[in-house]
């Protein structure tokens, strides 16, 4: 049989399709962790946070976060009687080494631990031009460092300031909700080392998670609800002055 041009074209197209299939490879064998059975978030109890900075140090030790950059940090708010709309906020070195006593204590002051809100509708993933940041099936916003270009769109897009460009890898970095821990059944490093239990990992799809009982009887709120990001870090006892 002689190869006509028609045969050649048909065969080449078929070969291309077959090659595509070969390159895709065999799907990995699944471990006993089923991502679709989880939906993670976090609960912050402002009334328990003592601003010790254990979470910040724990996160840096667990994830190798470079000095001067933070995947989680603690802010101190100082709200005077007339400055509810304009509070004073400080976070020396992310609160890593605690907070020096304020010279002029005016009104109330309190600590607010912050981290990626793992928004279900996150602006950072929407702006990524290459699909290097994404929502995992269990509700965690992750960065694929092998695929990130380092264009910084996501750093600008995050309304909570939770992202930064790692100076060594020059790829975007953020809280991964300790994905390497929670998929093994452990809690996050920050929750593990928090001495007062002010922060707790939450699995909304787990019917036995104490969050369900907590939410029935407590008023909680998320940061910047007007951004409509569907943030999943819930704050209990949060003052209206917190931005």
């Amino acid at each position: 049989m002689t190869m006509t041009r028609r045969h050649f074209i048909v065969l080449t197209a078929a070969a291309a399709a077959a090659w595509d299939h070969i390159l895709a490879g065999t799907p990995e064998t699944a471990s006993n962790y089923n991502a679709s059975e989880h939906w993670y978030g976090m609960l912050m109890n402002i009334e328990e946070c003592i601003g010790c900075g254990s979470c910040v140090r724990g996160c840096q030790q667990e994830n190798g976060v470079p000095d001067g950059y933070f995947r989680t940090w603690v802010e101190r708010y100082q709200v005077g009687d007339w400055t509810v709309e304009n509070p004073t906020v400080d976070s020396p070195d992310g609160g890593k080494n605690g907070f020096p006593e304020l010279k002029h204590a005016d009104g109330k002051s309190f600590f607010v631990p912050k981290l990626c809100n793992h928004c279900a509708d996150s602006p950072c993933t929407q702006v990524c031009p290459v699909g290097a940041t994404f929502h995992s099936p269990d509700g965690v916003v992750l960065v694929d460092p092998k695929y990130c270009l380092g264009c910084r769109y996501c750093v600008q897009a995050c309304p909570y300031g939770c992202r930064f460009l790692n100076p060594k890898t020059e790829t975007a970095e953020k809280c991964s909700l300790c994905y390497h821990r929670i998929t093994k059944g452990l809690t996050t490093a920050c929750c593990e080392v928090c001495p007062t239990g002010a922060r707790q990992l939450v699995d909304f799809k787990n019917a036995n998670d104490p969050i369900h009982a907590f939410l029935k009887t407590h008023a909680v709120q998320v940061l910047k609800p007007y951004m409509a990001t569907k943030a999943k870090v819930y704050y209990y006892g949060l003052d209206g002055s917190v931005r």
Partner: protein
């Protein structure tokens, strides 16, 4: 039929388009990484790669498997909710190899004030002191046992 006699150039053009389409498919197959799009607009393998990172904090469950005596002591005191690695630091290496990797000795004078130094922003119910005024430089563990910090004096007992 006579109309098609001069239509050879159309077939040649179609062949060029078909060849370009095939080249597009081949280049796409080369450039799009493995697993991209399986779960969404991202590399599916990234999930497993991120999940495979090593842990540094073993988690209190791992500590409690061996140190049940400390768990027993700690459950009686005010520090019962404080997890081991909150003070002792990340010890996953120690769990992997308890004999050769030993946790560092802790220094109460620097460790305790991390939480218990007085600060106006701390919750009022949290026990806090000005370390210098409170002990005058005497290490905290002279009086307080770290695992059960309350000082048991004859008067304090009911």
């Amino acid at each position: 039929m006579s109309d098609l006699r001069n239509a050879g150039h159309l077939f040649r053009l179609a062949a060029v388009f078909a060849a370009m389409f095939i080249v597009f498919l081949l280049v796409r197959a080369l450039l799009v990484p493995k697993g991209f799009g399986r779960y969404g607009h991202y590399r599916a393998e990234a999930l497993a790669e991120i999940a495979a990172k090593p842990i540094n904090y073993a988690g209190h469950q791992a500590c409690e498997n061996c140190h049940s005596d400390v768990v027993e002591v700690k459950s009686q005191g005010k520090h019962k909710g404080v997890k081991c690695e909150s003070c002792h630091g990340p010890l996953a290496r120690h769990v992997d190899d308890p004999a050769s990797v030993q946790p560092a000795k802790l220094e109460a004078t620097s460790l305790c004030p991390r939480c218990h130094t007085a600060n106006a922003a701390k919750p009022k119910k949290f026990p806090q002191v000005a370390p210098e005024d409170h002990s005058g430089g005497v290490p905290c563990d002279t009086c307080h046992k770290p695992h059960t910090p309350a000082i048991e004096t004859a008067e304090a007992k009911p």
